[in-house]
């Protein structure tokens, strides 16, 4: 037995020697991509970043490389630094003269905002500590976010001045937020802390003009309360003080802001969203139409226009008694674009609540509860309004329906479900990119086609340029093992194709027509 073992061992060693391959630098070198994202300025994609873990320094410290490429995929800069192995890069933004990268250090419960100039040198760092409660809440908010590469959720650029960040916080039993400003031209920061009483409050950044940052605040007394108060908060960018805070009420109409557009060269801005008459409950009832306000920096409504489903929209679209566009259902507005020629475009997507046949069957068969309703995502809608905010055109872009269900769907109304669906990326809408000076824009959305000519995913676009609206489509299926796309500079999309046999990833920028 001993001799057999010896032979076996010798054979094993011999095999090992023969199998021993020579090493090369690229085989030993290991770098891992932590994440990648877009660099956004003024709602336009200006470039991309890749965040690598490029080396281990010690037990607690890694070396990271932040690689910045421009919108044409040319590498601009590699920024190397050492930091805790527990950091995560969340978002990036560019304000025309500086770039910010928002990190979260899980070990220190710290949000770190690092600002770099155009030479790739770090100029300022701002930190914010989150307490345990806020940390948990923050992490939950981050994990649920719509991971669209083209829309920031937490950090936003203020041209050549700095960046605004909104952080969702938890203070004892209150769910609240704060707004922070981080200057990029000097070391300066301010924080706005709202004063709320026993409320569940969330805040969403709407936009900014030269002097005011605009936040939409939704407040409820309790998390599950159906009564919701909607306000627009204006914060003075120079000192972080409240410029105004107004309920989105205009006479008998309540507006539920979904989007804003700042008017260039002026101090006013536009707010758009569904409106509700009288005491209608925002989260409960159907909306009465689409409202638009022009407001100034003092929060005064300068002019308003309400385009009702029943009267105004019905001239262009078929509307039923429940305020739903026939076949489209309710409308969730993803984006509002004011173009250089004074027109206003609202890009929406239809949805409706419907019976979930599988859920019903499961409920009956198993005698235990399953979701019996689901959200059906329908077609795209483009509203065109003139400079008087009057509806001049409405176009439906048909696509195949998508179903979406989450636990608890039966207990949520269609509007709440739509908000959740948006957060989970269930809509087919991808992104909207505006061109320089907002002379044009392109909206993209996906669709899965099943025709005899083509079966597969498509990327569709609606573009406005030179006074005309055009539609385009790219079939994403190819001979590659997989195909994906990323938002790119306005009018383009970055298509990635992976060819498994050749171990090759092809990336090419294609223009949308």
């Amino acid at each position: 037995m001993k001799s057999l073992l010896l032979i076996t061992t010798s054979l094993f060693c011999l095999q090992q020697a023969n199998a021993q391959e020579k090493l090369s630098i690229d085989k030993v070198y290991k770098m891992s991509l932590r994440n990648a994202g877009t660099i956004i300025a003024d709602e336009q994609i200006k470039g991309y970043y890749y965040f690598f873990m490029s080396d281990k320094i010690d037990k607690r410290t890694n070396e990271y490389t932040l690689q910045i490429v421009d919108a044409n995929l040319n590498k601009l800069k590699d920024i190397k630094f050492q930091d805790s192995k527990k950091i995560v890069l969340l978002e990036s933004s560019f304000n025309g003269s500086s770039m910010v990268f928002m990190f979260y250090d899980d070990g220190e419960n710290l949000l770190d905002y690092r600002i770099y100039n155009l030479e790739g040198k770090q100029t300022y760092t701002y930190s914010k500590v989150l307490d345990k409660r806020s940390e948990a809440y923050f992490k939950q908010a981050v994990s649920q976010r719509d991971d669209e590469e083209s829309e920031n959720q937490n950090i936003f650029d203020i041209t050549n001045k700095g960046f605004v960040s909104i952080t969702q916080l938890r203070e004892n039993k209150k769910y609240t937020y704060d707004v922070n400003f981080y200057s990029s031209d000097k070391k300066r920061t301010w924080t706005y802390n709202p004063i709320e009483d026993g409320k569940f409050t969330t805040a969403q950044y709407l936009g900014a003009n030269d002097s005011i940052a605009l936040i939409e605040v939704l407040s409820r007394d309790k998390m599950m309360s159906k009564e919701m108060e909607s306000t627009i908060l204006g914060i003075n960018l120079s000192n972080g003080r409240k410029a105004f805070e107004i309920r989105t009420q205009d006479g008998k109409n309540q507006l539920y802001p979904m989007n804003i557009s700042t008017l260039k060269g002026g101090n006013s801005f536009l707010v758009i969203g569904p409106y509700f008459e009288g005491n209608d409950r925002v989260m409960q009832d159907k909306s009465d139409g689409i409202g638009i306000w022009e407001m100034n920096n003092q929060g005064k409504i300068l002019r308003s226009k309400y385009n009702s489903w029943a009267k105004d929209m019905s001239k262009h679209l078929k509307i039923d008694q429940k305020g739903r566009v026939a076949d489209l259902g309710y409308v969730f507005f993803h984006s509002l674009q004011q173009t250089e020629d004074g027109k206003l475009f609202a890009i929406g997507e239809g949805y409706r609540k419907t019976a979930n046949a599988a859920g019903i069957a499961m409920t009956i068969l198993t005698q235990s509860y399953s979701n019996v309703t689901k959200l059906v995502v329908t077609d795209m809608l483009l509203l065109e309004l003139n400079s008087q905010f009057e509806l001049s055109n409405a176009t439906i872009y048909e696509k195949n329906n998508n179903n979406f269900s989450i636990p608890g769907a039966d207990f949520a109304n269609a509007h709440t479900l739509a908000l959740v669906a948006k957060a989970y990326g269930a809509f087919d809408y991808s992104y909207t990119q505006a061109g320089k000076n907002h002379a044009s824009f392109t909206t993209t959305y996906t669709d899965y086609e099943r025709s005899k000519d083509y079966k597969g995913l498509t990327l569709n676009s609606i573009s406005y340029y030179d006074g005309k609206v055009t539609k385009d489509k790219i079939n994403l299926k190819s001979s590659a093992k997989w195909v994906s796309f990323l938002p790119a500079k306005q009018g383009s999309v970055l298509i990635m194709e992976y060819f498994k046999k050749d171990k090759r990833l092809d990336m090419h920028m294609e223009k949308l027509n």
Partner: protein
């Protein structure tokens, strides 16, 4: 024949194989010559493989195989210009050098024209030398061409390529290097930094050797050239020319705002919008030093300085700038202006092809071949943009390109589909009243009218085509 059938024939016939038709300088390929050359290359490759010795035989063989595949691909991609006339001339140029320098055997070397627009020449190390027409068409005389050939022959004679391969393999697969790699592999921390240091050191050494090779190739090239009847002083003028070779031959000819400005369709400044994210390109001393160390060639001015004295001492008063055939040299030099555009299109680099055409048009505004090529190129841009495959046939703006090329690439990025159709149509239409309309031009105009939805005019041109060319 009905209009629809005729239109189909016209549109199907529009290809870049037939881009320049019979009117332009034409270089038909010689399949028999190409096959004979491939056979010779294959024979050499097999011989080289058999002759490898030493412990790293396998790794050297792998590199030789890569080289062999690389060379063969140039034939399959139709990059080799095997036209009898051009090849015959190149052979005569080469023979002038070989007959006066007995160190070479003519059968060991294969000197070929490459249709690439890149101004370069390269010695593969196994006897094949590529002389890019993108360099040839920039030269001023045969003596400069002879210096380029001598330089590449010197690389071959001094065995620089194979020495480089041997050195690389001996370094990377040496026990010492492998031990170092294993040691780094076992390191828990700072591994990549150590590897980067190791790789950088290796690259610096490699590049230093490459620069030394270039220096010795220059030196030997002078020795070879001085034995011929070519003017050895042209080696210095050739190096001076290489200093500016990154700018295209007709680089001053391009004026986008003028060339794409039409009374019915004025140029839009927004087409040149540059919104790109930019980082300041400031390098510290350390970075500059590193960049210098990574160069493969010494600066041209340094090369000239090193050779000046010997060149002047070797100059013979009875030497000439042209020895073989001045007329043929100039004919090829001019004909290659078109060939590089043609090959750019054939190799699916339409942005480069159109750009080269626009540059040339600036210098030769009445050249119908060039303006037809530009129009056809724009038609292709339209078709690919419509089909969402434009990204596969044009370059994206990048820091490695000249400013004027980047401007043109930016223009292509900013143009909407209807604008591409319009530019192509108006660009071609400005010449429609001229007397020198040829078949390709009319085909291009028909296609552009179709894209721009000028259906009435399209029909008129189809009728014209039927009457004059069909």
């Amino acid at each position: 024949m009905n209009t629809k059938t005729l239109l189909t024939i016209i549109l199907v016939n529009i290809s870049f194989t037939g881009l320049f038709g019979q009117v332009s300088p034409n270089f038909p390929s010689n399949p028999a010559f190409e096959q004979k050359t491939i056979d010779a290359i294959t024979k050499q490759y097999q011989k080289d493989i058999q002759n490898i010795q030493g412990p790293n035989k396998k790794y050297i063989a792998d590199i030789y195989k890569e080289r062999f595949t690389y060379i063969k691909e140039k034939f399959s991609k139709k990059e080799i210009l095997s036209d009898d006339e051009a090849q015959s001339y190149l052979d005569k140029l080469t023979n002038e050098i070989l007959k006066k320098n007995s160190v070479f055997k003519a059968e060991d070397v294969r000197i070929l024209f490459s249709r690439s627009y890149v101004p370069n020449a390269s010695s593969m190390g196994e006897g094949t030398i590529f002389f890019h027409i993108g360099l040839f068409h920039r030269l001023q005389n045969e003596s400069q061409a002879a210096f380029v050939l001598c330089h590449e022959l010197a690389h071959y004679y001094l065995d620089h390529t194979d020495n480089g391969i041997q050195k690389y393999v001996a370094t990377v697969y040496s026990d010492e290097f492998q031990k170092e790699l294993k040691k780094i592999q076992k390191t828990a921390y700072g591994r990549n930094n150590q590897l980067e240091k190791l790789a950088k050191n290796m690259m610096f050494k490699n590049r230093r050797h490459t620069r030394e090779f270039e220096q010795s190739a220059d030196s030997m090239a002078i020795e070879l050239l001085k034995n011929t009847n070519f003017d050895v002083r042209e080696a210095l003028s050739c190096l001076a020319l290489l200093d500016s070779v990154d700018r295209d031959k007709y680089h001053s000819g391009i004026q986008l705002e003028k060339q794409f400005n039409f009374s019915s369709y004025p140029f839009k400044k927004s087409w040149l919008n540059d919104d790109d994210l930019k980082f300041a390109v400031s390098k510290d001393e350390e970075a500059k030093k590193e960049e210098d160390s990574l160069k493969t060639h010494p600066e041209c001015s340094v090369r000239i300085e090193r050779l000046k004295e010997r060149v002047n001492s070797f100059y013979k008063t009875n030497s000439k700038q042209f020895v073989v055939d001045e007329k043929k040299f100039n004919h090829l030099k001019n004909a290659f202006d078109y060939e590089i555009i043609k090959y750019a299109f054939e190799s699916k680099n339409f942005s480069k092809g159109i750009f080269l055409g626009l540059e040339m048009q600036g210098a030769h505004p009445d050249d119908i071949i060039v303006r037809t090529a530009i129009g056809k190129g724009l038609n292709e841009v339209y078709k690919h943009q419509k089909d969402h495959t434009l990204g596969k046939i044009i370059d994206l703006p990048g820091p490695e390109y000249e400013r004027s090329y980047n401007d043109f690439l930016r223009l292509l990025q900013n143009l909407r589909l209807t604008e591409v159709a319009a530019l192509s149509y108006y660009f071609l239409a400005q010449y429609k009243t001229k007397n020198d309309l040829n078949e390709e031009y009319v085909q291009a105009l028909i296609e552009s009218a179709d894209h721009f939805e000028k259906f009435g005019e399209k029909q008129d041109w189809i009728d014209y085509y039927k009457k004059n060319f069909h």
